[in-house]
């Protein structure tokens, strides 16, 4: 088969679903074949997926890496086979790709921190729900910490891991129980933020605690519109990312030159 092979991190998250949908739509538009493989957050599976793409003989491979360093093996294998690689979302480390299209997660984290400072009046204790094994999340949280550190009267009192929505809910409940004076929670993703909002409501702290999320999928944007606890969400644009990835892949296949870095700056979504 010819065309584009895409290896995506997961298919159980709205961000990646939207990304995949946008890619499929654009591929149809441009009339190229696109095959999608899901790594299910396992780098070894991603490598296997890429190896299988190589056997199948695709023209270009688009990867949303499971891990920025570990993806090197897959990229090198593809390049060795003469197949150009484009990364989306998470950049690759230690290997050069033809182009990278992705959100600047650190900047997004900084924006979240600034928004938090703004809604809390530059003071107060905040908590974070994180997912420490994912590089893009680590960048977001680091950006958030950086921004908060600029405000001397603000303090991060608790960081807990909440990978799934259920885990995030328990983590948020327990953090609120342990630190009843928290006034803000930053969730590394929509799931974490939405779970935190539920926990705030269950604890009856709607008047005191504000929640900010990251990703900005529809469910979270709706929550920002309707739920006063959800004061804002950092919005990524997977639709743009997917479209751009396929466009770039088509250009690469045609031998055209493309930009090595195509950053997509996240937006801040607050209540209408």
């Amino acid at each position: 088969a010819e065309g584009i092979g895409a290896s995506l991190l997961t298919q159980q998250h709205p961000f990646y679903i939207e990304l995949a949908d946008a890619m499929k739509a654009e591929a149809k538009e441009k009339n190229v074949t696109l095959e999608v493989a899901i790594a299910n957050q396992d780098l070894n599976k991603q490598l296997a997926d890429v190896e299988d793409f190589i056997v199948k003989g695709v023209d270009v491979i688009v990867i949303s890496p499971v891990d920025s360093q570990g993806v090197r093996a897959a990229i090198e294998k593809a390049e060795k086979a003469g197949i150009k690689v484009i990364t989306v979302d998470v950049p690759a480390n230690g290997a050069t790709v033809t182009s990278h299209i992705g959100t600047d997660n650190f900047t997004g984290g900084v924006k979240a921190g600034e928004l938090m400072a703004k809604v809390l009046g530059n003071k107060g204790k905040v908590a974070v729900i994180d997912y420490p094994t994912v590089q893009s999340v680590v960048n977001r949280v680091n950006g958030f910490k950086d921004a908060i550190a600029k405000h001397p009267e603000m303090e991060i009192v608790a960081i807990q891991t909440g990978i799934t929505r259920a885990e995030a809910l328990a983590a948020a409940q327990n953090m609120l129980q342990a630190n009843p004076d928290i006034s803000g929670i930053f969730g590394f993703g929509d799931d974490a933020a939405l779970a935190a909002a539920v926990a705030v409501k269950a604890a009856g702290l709607e008047a005191q605690v504000k929640v900010i999320g990251f990703d900005g999928m529809k469910e979270a944007r709706d929550a920002v519109d309707t739920n006063p606890v959800m004061v804002g969400v950092i919005q990524q644009f997977p639709d743009q990312m997917g479209k751009q990835a396929v466009d770039t892949a088509v250009k690469v296949a045609a031998g055209e030159q493309v930009q090595a870095e195509q950053p997509i700056v996240p937006g801040v979504y607050t209540a209408k």
Binding site: T10, Q11, Q12, Q160, T161, T164, A166, V198
Partner: protein, 320 residues
């Protein structure tokens, strides 16, 4: 007077039977109370009970299965499917009652498939449920292509968020299911048959127990319990997540085994399982309260499970 001594005797007996594991639970609670005074509060215990509900209910079902000497690894996936079935029912326009019924029937059917494959085709349940774990996890993702599905039925979401007579509904559900399972296991012939079959399948067959039917019913119980867990989980999250319940089967098994259920079959109680589930819940909650970093939580949780099971094994040996 005699009543009091009878109660005392019952307490002594309970302490003997659940001594090791009960001790572990109490010790954990004491340690956490010392480290964080907020741990010991009614609100927090409600929190713990609610957080542990999903695992506890799945563990009740798991206890039956393990009692037979079998295992059900598909429980986590059934939890996810149940939530999704509920969400799809509402998307289809059904009301709360019918949606709940359809969800529980779906749980029973998934359990039945596990049971039939194990009992009738004589496949080992471990491999059957590893396979159906994948199959059900695949199925749950089909309607929404992997995305979560919102649930906006007010009754459904009330289960996970509202209270009744001052207690969260979730806790009522756990309590009622505990009592039902406990009675079914310890007071009925059905429960006795499970114990006997788990103890020696061959002897049970020769004594006229319809082992295949029993096995299928018990896998159905496990499926229904998992489905109820799925209802609670999705109601707490206002949505059906396709990755919901991932690896909860291991927590459910850990709860049952902590509670003294023997993986070889024939031995186990619902009380033990409940205590086991509480240990897991208290541990998660306590460490969150202390802001223990995630990786250390994993380590501590593993160590506590080891110590608790060891205390229990020791207590049982001493009794002999």
């Amino acid at each position: 007077m005699t009543q009091q001594t009878a109660a005392q005797a019952a307490l002594v007996r309970a302490l003997k039977q659940y001594g090791g594991i009960f001790l572990s639970l109490v010790m954990l609670c004491i340690i956490f109370s010392f480290l964080n005074p907020r741990f010991m509060s009614v609100v927090n215990f409600m929190n713990i009970l609610q957080q542990v509900a999903v695992i506890a209910i799945a563990a009740f079902g798991m206890t039956w299965v393990i009692l037979l000497g079998e295992i059900d690894l598909s429980v986590g996936s059934i939890i996810a499917v149940a939530g999704m079935v509920g969400a799809q029912c509402f998307a289809f326009g059904l009301g709360f009652g019918p949606a709940l019924a359809v969800t529980l029937v779906a749980g029973a059917l998934m359990g039945m498939l596990n049971g039939v494959l194990t009992a009738k085709l004589l496949l080992p349940s471990f491999i059957v449920t590893v396979a159906t774990m994948g199959i059900y996890r695949g199925l749950v993702s089909l309607p929404t292509n992997g995305a979560p599905a919102m649930i906006d039925n007010a009754t459904w979401t009330a289960i996970g968020t509202e209270s009744f007579l001052g207690l969260p509904i979730i806790i009522w559900v756990v309590a009622v299911l505990f009592v039902i399972n406990q009675i079914l296991l310890s007071k009925t012939s059905f429960g006795r048959r499970a114990y006997l079959t788990g103890g020696n399948r061959e002897a049970a067959i020769y004594s006229g127990i319809k082992v295949d039917r029993l096995k299928i019913i018990i896998f159905m119980i496990s499926g229904v319990m998992a489905a109820i867990s799925g209802v609670l989980l999705s109601s707490r999250l206002f949505s059906a997540q396709t990755n919901a319940g991932m690896s909860y089967e291991l927590d459910a098994i850990a709860a049952a085994v902590l509670g003294g259920t023997s993986l070889a079959g024939g031995v186990g109680t619902m009380v033990g399982t409940l205590i086991g589930a509480l240990i897991i819940g208290v541990m998660n909650n306590g460490m969150n309260m202390l802001s223990v970093p995630y990786f250390y939580q994993l380590i501590v949780k593993g160590l506590v499970i080891l110590v608790a099971v060891w205390l229990d094994v020791r207590a049982k040996q001493a009794k002999r």
